[in-house]
Amino acid sequence: MSDFQALSEAVHKGDIKTAVAETQVAMDANANIQDILDNGLIATMDEVGDRFSKGIIFVPQMLRSAKTMQECMKLITPFFQKDGVTSKGKVLIGTVKGDLHDIGKNLVSMMMEGAGFTITDLGVDVPPEKFVQKVQEIEPDIVAMSALLSTTMPSMPLTIEALRSAGVRDKVKIMIGGAPVTDKYAQEIKADAYASDAGSAVSRAKTLMGIS
């Protein structure tokens, strides 16, 4: 395993220039791509998520680190196939039908990506049939739904019901979140997990995938 201390520090700081340069240095030194990803980028973003959940760092800092990681990813992604890099899992995410709020959903997307998941983001106001269609198409491991209004929360059980009718409910794990959503609600509608913020969304997703 290589030493990615400088890369890690740059991602923590959100210093894109240094982080990208350090990624290049690692690649030039023939470091294994999976190693750069897992022990350089993902390990750092795990720490970032953890520090965010604990209230040590704040949203702008987390966003900056995530953005930095995305820039580094651009360098290594083209080699994923050749080097046999594996994803932690596929996540399909969207804000449910009738709801236009995207801030929380975007934060979760970014942190999930930072944790090594492959994200497909359906955007906002996503009807149940669109979730179903995309689940059938890309066969994700996790479906993540966001709702910020009491009036749009019922779109969550409707989406779960649509997945059930299509015969794909048991092929995915379902996680939900958003300001009015609670753990109790997740249990009521038989979702598999509830997450209260972007940091905990990552740890819940890992638990669902049996990695931690």
């Binding site: 702008p60 966003l63 236009l100 801030i103 009015p180």
Partner: protein, 265 residues
Amino acid sequence: MIIVGEKINTSRKSIREAVERQDADFIIKVAQEQAEAGANYIDVNAGTFVEQETERLCWLVETIQGALDLSLCLDSPDPNALSEAMKIHKGEPMINSISMETDRLGPLLPVVSSSPCQIIALCMGQAAMPTTVEDRVEVGSELINTLTSQGIPIENIHVDPLIQPISVDTNMGLAALGAIQKIMSGFPGVNTICGLSNISFGLPERHLINRNFLALAMSYGLSGAIMDPTDKRIMSTLLSTDMLLGRDEYCEKFIDGYQDGRVVG
């Protein structure tokens, strides 16, 4: 400034529990405290009850108005909950809120134009959240024109520019402030109102940010706020800002506030 007291919201644990056990005394006390601290309207929100929202919202209206002579701000994204609560509200309520979203505008328009009320018009478009000043002014103008064409007096409209977190995009403060200024100058007689806590999402020392945002928004023309009037520090910011903007003759309200202990440094 029109002050809407925000504390009776079932997303707060103490309120949710009080509503669950039908503790009228507790709810009345929270309403009374806010009115005494200067609230013009008492916001009531039972959104967390989802299917039972309408029933719980109506219980809040009956409970508070059964004991106190106060106007309420009926707070729900659900047109049905709002119209049911309006039916039992005594006097002129404030409606929080109407927006350009088709599911909300269609069912609410006949309700809000059939009996006198104050209306919060949220700058939420049909397809996306607004980001720029222009987005907000466009949706705000559309709402004002739609409401006034139904015969609603412009003075009864309170445009909410929709505050988004500065932590996610550092332009969000200016986007809201610019919209307040343009809406107030473009539509004489209209009001603007907003909640203060969204601006500070994701940041430390949120109360400090909220207070400074209130002062800035007031200087751009904001005429109302949805806030906690029992928080002495934010009320002190409000009173001192009103005075600094030349709206407090002989600095009377500020000095009165100081003398009876409401203004703190």
